[in-house]
Every structure is written in structure tokens, then in C-alpha cells.
């Protein structure tokens, strides 16, 4: 039994922030949970999927974030508390429905949890979701520690029901993926029954149809809801203050920055000088509460990550209150005390605080970085971003690169988000030349493929993963098929949403809850669009490259090559080698003319290591996954494979 199902009130567990959010949803009696995988958000749905059957919760990995939110909304409309989870980019995908849903309102509590990724540790943009709350006029909550991650999640459902609208609970990487002690509350009894009441009066929020029209009425009603939320926030127990009654200086912060700020105050020992106002309700801001604290001091530092959301909203309030509270001096992002890009950490906050308070403190002593770098260079091997040993993408991009080089017309690849985004770098032979949102490779390629009339003669390829294919590639492909755009899509089908941890997608026969489900065939979808479709194993380099060259030459509009090979890290494959690889040192040409270390200099699978003492390549048996591909790139036949026992 998962510890998340422990019903002993008051018991404590060390939980990851994402688990705390899942537990909060359980304590709120969530019945529907949907999402699309994306770091740092994925563990929430995974935790719930694991216990979904035991707890009578319907959990799904949806095709994309917009669909996930629609699925969750159906739960809310039917009287079931529902949770929808995604990473920050997912909110962009869901935003069209998000606007409509915020206008139509919800019934049973519905909470949207976006997990933002300041510093873009596992993202392609640093975009953040908080602005959506203001844009679509829904309340925004931000837990400031792990206990709050659970408690505020539970409270978010109540708030949603109080105002009959969606509530956003925003987490960040260091909240989602760090861990802390969490004291459990009670789990409610299951009394779920679903039914959609829709025959009532058109404006009846509980019995009428669910829609964002008539807009004038609904929009005004939505603003009433926000007013109500603001009133509730004035007394929200999760907005806390620590520090002297009359602080010399006030920090206003939220989310993980709460933890950094506390640490900074403690490191500098300025507990008697600095007050810390940690806000859990960051939109709409509660004006009375803020007025109370802003009146206590004239200097304010806002600590938050990425854009100055809190900073600007507080400044608006201060401007409005200026006749009563006077003029304040602000420190934060706009004056550069806090960086506008990247993650924060305690050092950065200590630095900002020390600077403002005139304390001589250096978070990082002079010369430390040089010393650290020096030590690094002498002691550690240089490591660069690369595909895993045995990754099918390395083989796929090897063939794509070679096919384009042979073709010789300066062809290129348009891509999107996935492990294969690394093909921008030498590990993917720098083959990828555009990298944008999920599915954008196909869309951009569809555009390039129509430029022939302007003299454009470069071959165009696009790549997407199998999960991405379902998520956002299909409309782009239909566009290309309909307009007879000339390009080749390569679907890098590694049988799962591999980058985020092998979550199932519509192409698989199993769903989030482990049930047998209908799998949707990528090849058949493409054929139905009229595309020429080929399926190959990317580990067969010769056949893959040959097929690619044929497809690139084929002027017949949309072509699709599905390169099917399971991810090297997949649970099915992990630690099972197909081949035992060995090196015949006599045959290895090494740095000589005829090879010049093609395996360790160009192919660069981490399982291949250059032995500079012997001037030959050797196999790192620990890293090698036995895919056998390197045997085919060795020009001397020195890399040998034999079927593993």
C-alpha cells in the first residue's frame, strides 16, 4: 500500500512537494486527475495513478494539456472534485480552454496545478504560469513549504467551490522535487456520484448549461468571484509574517523563495531587523493584509523567480495606498538586486539582502569559482549533454545527418521538445536547426515545404516523438497533407513518453491506471492523411539512411518515416543487452587514416571509450547497453557483437 493512502491523522512523512500536492488532493477527496507529463510536474499524476484503483479515482495521462483540462472540467461539472496537472508550457497549450473555463465557472472544486521551471532546468523556455491567473481572472495560490503544498492543495478545492471557479496552485521545480516533512490529515470517505445537471436556467451556475456566454454577464460574475476570493484571502491562514513588529526592512515573497529568504535572514542574523511576509495568495493580492505590513516599513524587497509578477502587483497596490502609507523604496527585479533570469537560491537572496542592508558578506568568497573550476578540470572528466548509451535517437540522427549530407542540398531538420532536442548539439550531429513548442517541427516544416515557388530547394525534415505526435503534431501534418507541403516527418517512436519517465500515451495498449486500452496507430493516422509512410528500425543504419534518401528525393508532398526502437532506459529494456560488444584491438585503426576515431570522436556513445595509452577504443561494459549499432559504424570491423546469452 502506498504511504500516500495512510489514513492515520497526524502521522508524518518525508514527502516530495509533488507527493504532498497529491496527498492534499486525496485529503480533498479528488475523483478525477488528469495531466500531460512534463518535468517538474509528472510525479503528481504518477502518485495518484498508482493508487487510483484503490482510492476510486479516475486518473489519466491525456493526449495534451488542453484535453487534460477539458477532461478534469467534465469531472467538476458532474460534481466530482478534479485536479489537472501540467508543467508551465502545458498551460500555454491549455490556455484557450482555460479562458473559456474561467468564464463558464466550475461546480465541484477544480484545481489546476502548473509546475513552473525557473532556470529552465528541463524546459526549452523559462515562461511562467502565474500571469495566466491574472490574465484569465482566477485565484492563484503558491505554497511556501511542503506542509503547505499539501494543506493549500486541500484548501484550493474548498476555495474553488466557494467561488465556483477554477483555482490555480502553482509550484516550481524546487517545491515539486525537493522534500520536507508533511503531517497528514484525514482522508474523506468515498461518496462520489457523478451527474451533469444542465437543464436548468441558462444563467444558473449549478443547474444550467456550462458556458462562458453571455459574456457580459459571465465576465462580470467572474469578477465578483475574484472579489470574493480577495476577501477570503484577507484572512487566509497561509499568508504568514515573521519578524519584528516594526521591521527596518520587509521581504515579500512566495513559493520556494520563502525558503531561500528565511535562510538568507538566518545566515545574516538579521531576524531583528527584517520582516518576512510570505504570501500564499499571490493573485488577487489581499489589499488590507498588505497595507498592514507595508505600513510598518519604508523599504521593501520582493523575492520571486523569473518575472516581477509579485513586485509589479504590490507596486500597484502601494501606489493606490500611497496617500495613507506613504512612499516606499522597492528592491527586486526592476532595480536588478534580484536577477530576472534563472532560478534563485539562498546565496542570491543573501547577496541582495546584504547589499541593501550594507552588510559586508560574500556568499561566494573571492577566488572560489576559479578554485572550483581548477579542481574540476584536473579531477573530473569533461562531460557534455549527450544521448544515453544505446539511445535510438543517436542512431536515428546519425542516419538523418548522413542522408542529408549525401543529398548535398543543405537539408535540415525542424524539431521540438523531447530528448531529441539534443540533436541541436554534437551528440545529434547538430542536425536539428529549429527547436520550438511541441509539434512545431511539423508546423514549421509544413511552411518550409511550401516555399518552392520562391526558389527554396533545400530538403526539409521534421522530427517528433511518439507522444508528441499525438500531443500536437497531428494538426500540423493535416495542414501539410492538405496543402501538399513537401517534407518528411520522422517519428522517433521509442514507445512511451520517455523523457519524463515512460508515461503511457495513446499509441500504447495500457493507460495510466494500468488498464488495457485501445492503441492508436501512428502509421495508420498518417496513411489516412494520404502520406507515404515507411517504418524502419533506426538501429538498421543502412536501411534507415537509404529510406530517408528515397523519401527526401520523393517530391510527392508529405512523407512519414516511423523509426521504431524502444528507449534504452525503458523498463522493458533496461539492463538487458541484446549483444555483448567487444573490441578487436588488432583491427582497431584508432587515429590512423581510414578511421580517425569515428566511434569516440563522432558517434560518441558513452559506452565507447578511447584508451589513449593503447590508442584503441574500448567498451565500457557498465555503460554499454548492447544495442550493437557501433559495430556498423566501425570501418575496420574492430567492434564485434555477439548475441548476448
Amino acid at each position: 500500500m502506498s504511504y500516500l493512502m495512510d489514513n492515520t491523522e497526524g502521522t508524518q512523512y518525508l514527502l516530495m512537494g509533488n507527493e504532498a500536492i497529491a496527498r492534499g488532493a486525496l485529503e480533498a477527496g479528488v475523483r478525477i486527475a488528469s495531466g500531460y507529463p512534463g518535468t517538474p510536474s509528472s510525479d503528481i499524476i504518477e502518485s495518484l495513478a498508482e493508487i487510483g484503483k484503490d482510492m476510486n479515482i479516475y486518473v489519466e495521462w491525456s493526449t495534451n494539456e488542453k484535453v487534460a483540462m477539458e477532461v478534469a472540467a467534465a469531472g467538476s461539472f458532474s460534481g466530482l472534485r478534479s485536479l489537472c496537472v501540467m508543467k508551465q508550457n502545458g498551460v500555454n497549450v491549455a490556455s484557450d480552454f482555460l479562458f473559456h473555463l474561467a468564464g463558464s465557472g466550475t461546480r465541484a472544486g477544480m484545481v489546476l496545478v502548473p509546475c513552473d521551471d525557473p532556470g529552465a532546468l528541463s524546459s526549452a523556455t523559462e515562461g511562467e504560469s502565474r500571469f495566466f491567473a491574472r490574465l484569465v481572472e482566477i485565484p492563484l495560490l503558491e505554497p511556501g513549504d511542503f506542509q503547505e503544498a499539501k494543506d493549500i492543495t486541500k484548501w484550493a478545492f474548498e476555495l474553488s467551490e466557494e467561488i465556483r471557479n477554477l483555482v490555480m496552485l502553482r509550484s516550481v521545480t524546487r517545491m515539486s522535487h525537493a522534500s520536507g516533512n508533511v503531517k497528514f490529515g484525514k482522508l474523506p470517505r468515498d461518496g462520489a456520484h457523478a451527474g451533469f445537471h444542465c437543464d436548468g436556467f441558462i444563467l444558473d451556475p449549478m443547474e444550467g448549461p456550462m458556458m462562458s456566454t453571455p459574456v457580459g454577464y459571465k465576465h462580470a460574475q467572474q469578477q465578483e468571484k475574484m472579489k470574493k476570493a480577495r476577501e477570503i484571502f484577507e484572512d487566509c491562514p497561509f499568508n504568514t509574517y515573521d519578524g519584528p513588529e516594526k521591521p527596518e526592512f520587509l521581504i515579500i515573497t512566495s513559493s520556494a523563495c520563502n525558503l531561500y529568504s528565511r535562510e538568507a535572514i538566518s545566515i545574516l542574523g538579521v531576524e531583528d531587523r527584517v520582516g518576512l511576509l510570505k504570501l500564499a495568495t499571490t493573485w488577487p493580492l489581499p489589499p488590507k493584509l498588505l497595507k498592514g505590513y507595508l505600513s510598518k516599513t519604508d523599504k521593501i524587497l520582493i523575492v520571486e523567480e523569473v518575472l516581477p509578477f509579485l513586485e509589479e502587483n504590490v507596486k500597484i497596490l502601494v501606489a493606490e495606498m500611497a496617500p495613507e502609507i506613504g512612499i516606499k523604496t522597492f528592491y527586486g527585479k526592476n532595480d536588478g538586486v534580484i536577477p530576472m533570469v534563472g532560478e534563485l537560491n539562498p546565496d542570491l537572496v543573501v547577496g541582495a539582502l546584504a547589499q541593501i542592508l550594507g552588510i559586508d558578506y560574500k556568499a561566494i568568497p573571492d577566488g572560489y569559482m576559479n578554485k572550483a573550476e581548477g579542481a574540476g578540470i584536473s579531477e573530473t572528466p569533461s562531460r557534455e549533454l549527450t544521448f544515453c548509451p544505446g539511445c535510438p535517437h543517436r542512431a536515428s540522427f546519425w542516419s538523418i545527418h548522413n542522408a542529408l549530407q549525401l543529398d548535398g542540398r543543405k537539408g535540415f531538420v525542424c524539431g521540438d521538445i523531447g530528448c531529441y532536442s539534443l540533436a541541436m548539439l554534437p551528440c545529434g550531429f547538430s542536425t536539428l536547426k529549429t527547436l520550438h513548442a511541441m509539434g512545431s517541427g511539423g508546423g514549421i516544416a509544413s511552411g518550409f515545404g511550401k516555399l518552392g515557388q520562391f526558389g527554396f530547394d533545400q530538403p526539409v525534415l521534421a522530427v517528433c516523438g511518439d507522444s508528441t505526435f499525438f500531443h500536437a503534431e497531428i494538426p500540423a501534418l493535416i495542414n501539410a497533407a492538405h496543402h501538399n507541403s513537401d517534407f518528411t516527418l520522422v517519428v522517433l517512436d521509442n514507445s512511451g513518453t520517455a523523457m519524463t519517465g515512460f508515461q503511457p500515451h495513446p499509441g500504447l495498449k495500457v493507460d495510466a491506471l494500468g488498464d488495457d486500452v485501445t492503441s492508436v496507430d501512428i502509421a495508420e493516422i498518417c496513411r489516412a492523411m494520404g502520406a507515404r509512410v515507411e517504418i524502419r528500425d533506426p538501429f538498421d543504419l543502412e536501411e534507415t539512411q537509404k529510406t530517408l534518401n528515397q523519401l527526401i528525393q520523393d517530391k510527392g508532398g508529405l512523407k512519414v518515416l516511423i523509426l521504431r526502437q524502444i528507449c534504452a532506459l525503458s523498463p522493458e529494456k533496461k539492463a538487458r543487452k541484446k549483444y555483448e560488444m567487444t573490441i578487436d584491438e588488432e583491427k582497431c585503426l584508432g587515429e590512423n587514416c581510414g578511421c580517425n576515431k569515428v566511434c569516440t570522436r563522432i558517434f560518441r556513445c558513452p559506452g565507447l571509450v578511447w584508451d589513449k595509452d593503447k590508442n584503441v577504443t574500448k567498451i565500457d561494459d557498465v555503460l554499454c547497453t548492447g544495442c550493437g549499432v557501433c559495430a556498423d559504424i566501425c570501418p575496420a570491423g574492430a567492434i564485434e557483437r555477439k548475441e548476448a546469452a
Binding site: N402, L406, D407, G408, C595, N596, V598, I633
Partner: protein, 371 residues
């Protein structure tokens, strides 16, 4: 002579649009490959010295050294290169019959050399549609499949390099002058390998005034007919001035002026019409579509031709005076034009080490040729 590497090859040949796609640099390593008539470098290689550069017939070809090695004297102004005899020839009764460009001399020689074991395999050029495809022929049937001129620049030497890799010795090869020049450089062991063995069992050169860029030719033809249905391509000797393209539906004639536009830049620098570093060179004979012109250069070539004649594989005859004169004029004309162009562009050198040129040859020889 100082040897350079792939970076210099890119600079001297690829970037100057001098690559003819002969295939000499391909399959020696993982980096150079041929595809649809073009040679591509797949990945960068930073070696200071490489066979790719050493074998390339378009960079630093030391004509004097090669001539000394093969014929015991420096390069001179003979338009046909060093030769023992020029004759006319055709396949004899003992040779298998097939579809030939002219007299079937090349197919007969290769079959004979294979049958007699003088060569273990023959590197030839087959055709798929219009695409020239290098092949390794092991018997007469294989040889006959590869008969007839392809007219497009072909990476024939990729099959030669692969044959060496697969362990073939005494390899026969039928090649255009540029390819023969590359092979001559391979035969000279430019990298100084200690265990070097000359891989060539018999080299037969083909007369060539120019080849066509395959991709341009394919595009040109496919605008006019179905490339897949082409059975034979021929350029009858002057004064016809046409290319004949045969399909199942008959013959189509294309004026040569249109075709000449498809000749790659590299051909305009070529000094060699008759493949001067082969054992034997073969071409057509004006006015006699059933016969070839044959130039015998080496002792090995001479022995094989004599033996083939004795055993009925080859029929030889004296070349008419006017044919020989015209051949000399045509070959001399090509050589002169190319040397003048190369000289004008400062691509000729003699002694400087470290500098890189197209050709190395004594200045007095150049003056004699140009005069």
C-alpha cells in the same frame, strides 16, 4: 611530395568545385561517400595526412613522378601519353557477345583477364536508370551487364576501394582518365605503407572528352522522358553532334550543345583524353561503329592484348592514318586547353613543397604543350 589531409581536400577540391565524383576518396574511411554522382563528406576529419587527398586526381598530381614511375621518364607533350602501340580492335569470336558501345573491346579484355586469372575481379560501372553504379564483376556475365558508356561522372573507384577492403588482389578496373589518374596515384603508394602491394591487375582506361554531372543530366532528361525506361545512351562520333537516348519506344536525339551545358566544371581542367596512366586505353573509332581505338601503354597491357588476340578474344588491325591524326589532334587540343586554363589560374607548380597545386609538371613541358 608532402601529403595533406581532408581539410585541404575540402579547400582545394570541394570548395573550388573541382570534384568530379570519381570515388577515389570514398570508402577509405567513414567520412567520404558517394551519392547520386556527388561525393559528400559526412563528418569532419582533422588528420594532417590522408589517402583522400593523396589519391584525388584534382589536387597535387605530380605528372612527372607518375610518368617516371610508370614509364621511366618524365611527363612529356605527347597528346596520347606514353604508349607502345595504337591499333583498332573489336571483340573476337571467343568473346561472349553482348550489347556494346562500339567493338566490345573492353568487355572482351576484362572477360579474358578474368577467365585467365590475371585479375581476380573487375571494377566496372553498371547503370540503374541513368545512374552509374559501380560494380565488382567476378565473371563474364557480370562484365557484360556493365557494357556501354554511361556518359556521366561515376564514383567507380568506390567499388575499387571496397574491393581492396574486402581483400581482393590483382583487381581489374575500367575507368575514365580522371579515375585512372587517381588509380595511378594509389599504385604509387603515396602514404609510404610498408606492406604496400599494387592492387591493380589490369587497368583499362576509357577515352573521355567530358562527362556529365549526373544530377543535372537526370534532371534534364526527366523533363523530357521517363528515366526508368532508358535502355542505352550513345554519342555517335562526330560530325553527328547529337546524343541518342534509347527507350523501349525508340530513339530520341538531343543536340550536344544542350548536353554540354551539363558538363561539370572539373572536366574543363582535365588534361587527359586517353587515360594516359592505364595499361591499355580504349575509345571509339570515327566512321567505324563496330570498332574501337586501342592504345597499349604498358608491358602488362601489351602481353594481355597479344594473348587475347591469339586466343580469339580480340581482333586487332592497324589504325588508319587519318583516324590516328584526328585522335592526336583531339587529345592534344584537350590537353592544351586544360593546361592553358590551369596555368592562367596559377594551378601549376613544379618544385615548391608545402604549397598545393592542381598539377605538378616541369615548366618546359607545359610550354611545349601550350605552344
Amino acid at each position: 611530395m608532402k601529403i595533406f589531409g581532408p581539410n585541404e581536400l575540402l579547400e582545394d577540391v570541394f570548395q573550388k568545385d573541382l570534384c568530379i565524383g570519381c570515388g577515389a576518396c570514398t570508402y577509405l574511411c567513414p567520412y567520404f561517400r558517394s551519392y547520386k554522382g556527388k561525393t559528400a563528406m559526412l563528418f569532419p576529419c582533422n588528420l594532417a595526412e590522408g589517402r583522400c587527398w593523396a589519391y584525388c586526381p584534382k589536387v597535387d598530381v605530380d605528372l612527372d613522378e607518375l610518368a617516371k614511375r610508370f614509364f621511366g621518364r618524365p611527363y612529356d607533350d605527347d597528346p596520347l601519353g606514353f604508349h607502345r602501340v595504337v591499333k583498332i580492335s573489336k571483340a573476337g569470336r571467343q568473346a561472349a557477345s553482348g550489347t556494346f558501345q562500339a567493338g566490345g573491346t573492353v568487355s572482351a579484355l576484362m572477360s579474358f583477364a578474368l577467365n585467365k586469372g590475371y585479375i581476380s575481379a573487375a571494377v566496372l560501372t553498371d547503370r540503374e536508370g541513368l545512374l552509374p553504379v559501380p560494380r565488382l564483376a567476378l565473371n563474364t556475365a557480370d562484365v557484360l551487364r556493365c557494357s556501354c558508356s554511361k556518359y556521366t561522372a561515376s564514383p567507380t573507384l568506390s567499388a575499387f576501394n571496397q574491393a581492396i577492403k574486402e581483400g581482393y588482389k590483382r583487381i581489374g578496373v575500367v575507368a575514365t582518365p580522371c579515375q585512372i589518374l587517381a588509380i595511378a596515384q594509389m599504385q604509387s603508394n603515396p602514404m609510404g605503407d610498408e606492406d604496400f602491394i599494387d592492387p591493380v591487375g589490369l587497368s583499362v582506361g576509357l577515352f573521355c572528352t567530358w562527362g556529365l554531372d549526373f544530377r543535372a543530366f537526370e534532371a534534364f532528361i526527366s523533363e523530357r522522358m521517363d528515366v526508368e525506361k532508358i535502355t542505352k545512351v550513345d554519342i555517335p562520333p562526330p560530325p553527328a553532334e547529337i546524343m541518342e537516348v534509347y527507350t523501349d519506344n525508340g530513339k530520341r536525339e538531343i543536340p550536344l550543345d544542350e548536353i554540354r551545358k551539363l558538363v561539370p566544371n572539373a572536366c574543363s581542367y582535365c588534361i587527359d583524353m586517353t587515360a594516359e596512366f592505364s595499361d591499355i586505353s580504349v575509345g571509339v573509332l570515327e566512321g567505324r561503329p563496330d570498332m574501337n581505338t586501342i592504345v597499349v601503354r604498358t608491358e602488362r597491357g601489351e602481353n594481355i592484348v597479344d594473348e587475347a588476340q591469339k586466343e580469339g578474344f580480340l581482333i586487332l588491325d592497324d589504325i588508319p592514318k587519318e583516324n590516328l591524326e584526328h585522335l592526336i589532334w583531339a587529345a592534344g587540343n584537350k590537353k592544351k586547353k586544360a593546361f592553358m586554363k590551369a596555368k592562367q589560374e596559377a594551378l601549376l607548380s613544379t618544385t615548391e613543397q608545402g604549397e598545393r597545386y592542381y598539377l605538378r609538371v616541369r615548366p618546359e613541358t607545359v610550354e611545349e604543350i601550350i605552344a
